[in-house]
């Protein structure tokens, strides 16, 4: 059972929710797919961390063999190759499609591995923590997310929480590709609603069952709540705007572990997700 937490807008509380849901579940795996800015591990402080590099394939040129025909340069749709006196590969731009190697008539190109980041696996209490970390200066974390999600083969009953990057581009798509359920976290601002609408369209496009958690709720109007009511979107729960919760979270403390009140707040949301998933499974069969 894989639950992805996403939001469109950054800073709405994806990590807060994903970390606390994993903390209140009996056994859980938390996967941090926000590989550009991973933060979940700062909360869990996992132990026995094992680290593994993530590599991609990039072309390397045998200068003796290259006759300057430029077939590879013409083929590369990503403009990752250029010929100026000799063949130059722009390693960061390469998408590792392998096309240049195929088209080279002189067999002057082969592939080598290049490290773009790493994966860390550790444990904190009953939670397994998987973190993807993209090296700074690298443009794409997609290969790291692919590897992270392929690593985890949970037993049927185990709960997996996927903490997604912000936005709605390819990295988010990759993160929710195999999710059974999506939780959209929204804050009660004009920006929050505008970006909620984007991920709402995304989960519909991918036909994923989903619900919304309203975060930072104040008394009075909540444009995000109105958005959900107008569209008949399931509201899984609401997290109040709360200075103490904010303080704990800013100090990377797991709120559910600090007080019974917060533990109950997140347990209720988890229960709402469980009910929804059960409902979905019944509806499907």
């Amino acid at each position: 059972m894989r639950t992805a937490v996403l939001s469109g807008k950054g800073g709405t509380g994806k990590t807060l929710l994903a970390v606390n849901l994993a903390a209140v579940a009996k056994t859980a795996t938390y996967i941090d797919c926000d590989v550009e800015e991973p933060n979940g591990h700062l909360f869990f402080k996992p132990e026995d961390v094992q680290e593994e590099e993530v590599v991609v394939k990039i072309p390397q040129v045998d200068k003796e063999r290259c006759n300057g025909c430029r077939k590879c340069v013409e083929f590369c749709n990503f403009n990752a190759l250029a010929y100026a006196k000799e063949l130059i590969a722009f390693e960061e731009i390469c998408h590792s499609c392998g096309g240049c190697v195929m088209v080279c008539p002189e067999k002057a190109l082969t592939e080598k591995e290049r490290v773009i980041g790493k994966i860390q696996k550790g444990t904190a209490g009953h939670v397994r923590i998987y973190t993807g970390i993209l090296n700074t200066g690298e443009p794409s974390g997609v290969p790291i997310i692919k590897k992270l999600l392929a690593e985890e083969n949970p037993e049927a009953n185990k709960r997996v929480f996927i903490d997604c990057p912000p936005g709605s581009a390819c990295i988010v798509m990759e993160s929710i590709k195999d999710a059974d359920y999506c939780i959209l976290v929204a804050e009660p601002t004009l920006f929050g609603v505008h970006n909620l609408n984007m991920v709402y369209e995304l989960v519909q496009l991918l036909k994923r069952p989903f619900g919304v958690v309203l975060n930072k709720c104040l008394e009075g109007e909540n444009p995000a709540k109105e958005f959900c009511l107008e569209r008949n979107i399931k509201i899984l729960g609401r997290i109040p705007f709360d200075q103490e919760l904010g303080r704990l979270n800013s100090n990377a403390r797991i709120a559910a572990g600090e007080s019974e009140e917060y533990a109950a707040l997140f347990a209720d949301i988890l229960e709402a997700v469980r009910r929804e998933v059960r409902h979905e499974t019944v509806a499907d069969s």
Partner: protein, 291 residues
């Protein structure tokens, strides 16, 4: 024209809130939103006119002609992106396809063609005196860096004579951020006083440093965690980064945004603080001119 780019690493620290205030204070005539994944600046910059819209084509996507396909499986075996699906017939998953053209190359019967695909929309607001360049990436699309480059090109091609351009960036450190960094004169990082915020700030500072761009830091909502705010200032001091101000948490900021206003449109604590940050940012810009 000098370009100031506002970044944060972590999302939701207040990039757009601060960018919109800067635009107002500078009476900026040229500005852009490079957060093509989740653009919001247009919501509070008060344009009443409709923008000029242009389709943005990313890389082409493969299409298989089922009449010609002989099911040899070469395309599937050679695709590195698992974009070839085999159902009743061979199909391309347009979200997985990155447009490399390998399948077209290996297909022995020319059943595959690369077809242009719209990956987003560019928008240009202009009234002859000022311009605002922005864009919206299509759901799940993968060429956000290229679209960011287009947004900046569109901004510059509007050819308005201005000293300063203000650019709102995207969260993270990946391709859209890297694309937005190219050619800018200064980066302002909006940091958040939290453990996560500090970790993310360090990663964006390292990224900007790789491009050797002058970087200044300010803290938003500093009073939500004074200890962490002090840590950020200490970090800046230790790394020789100009620290140019603290902005308090302010309920009026949310009110302003929800009314489609900037925080300097109201007389409020965050508005007054951002004004000081703005003045120091401009000073830093001028400093560079002399040096």
């Amino acid at each position: 024209m000098k370009q100031l780019l506002i970044l944060s690493g972590k999302g939701g620290t207040g990039k757009t809130t601060i960018a919109s205030a800067f635009i107002k204070l500078a009476e900026a005539r040229v500005y852009a939103d490079c957060d093509v994944d989740a653009p919001n600046l247009h919501l509070i910059t008060g344009w009443s006119t409709e923008p000029e819209k242009t389709d943005y084509y990313g890389l082409p996507k493969a299409e298989i002609n089922p009449e010609k396909c002989i099911g040899c499986d070469q395309c599937r075996q050679n695709c590195r992106f698992e974009a070839i699906l085999v159902e009743e017939e061979y199909k391309v998953d347009p979200f997985a396809c990155e447009g490399c053209g390998v399948c077209e190359y290996v297909c022995p019967v020319e059943a595959i063609t690369m077809v242009p695909a719209v990956a987003g929309e560019l928008m240009l607001y202009s009234d002859g005196k000022k311009v605002f360049s922005t864009a919206q990436l299509k759901m799940g699309s993968g060429t956000s860096g290229m679209l960011v480059t287009e947004v900046k090109k569109q901004m510059k091609s509007a050819a308005i004579d201005a000293q300063l351009a203000i650019i709102d960036g995207s969260p993270g450190i990946g391709c859209p951020v890297i694309a937005s960094l190219s050619g800018v004169d200064m980066v302002l990082i909006v940091a958040e006083p939290s453990v996560s915020g500090i970790s993310d700030m360090e990663r964006i500072i390292n990224t900007a440093a790789k491009f050797r761009i002058k970087t200044a830091v300010c803290i938003n909502k500093f009073d939500t965690n004074i200890e962490k705010a002090e840590e950020i200032e200490e970090f800046c001091k230790n790394h020789g980064l100009p620290f140019i101000g603290r902005i308090p948490f302010d309920a009026y900021a949310v009110k302003a945004v929800n009314n489609g206003q900037t925080i300097v449109d109201l007389d409020c604590a965050s508005g007054r603080a951002v004004k000081e940050v703005y003045e120091r940012a401009v000073e830093l810009f001028l400093e560079e001119k002399i040096g």
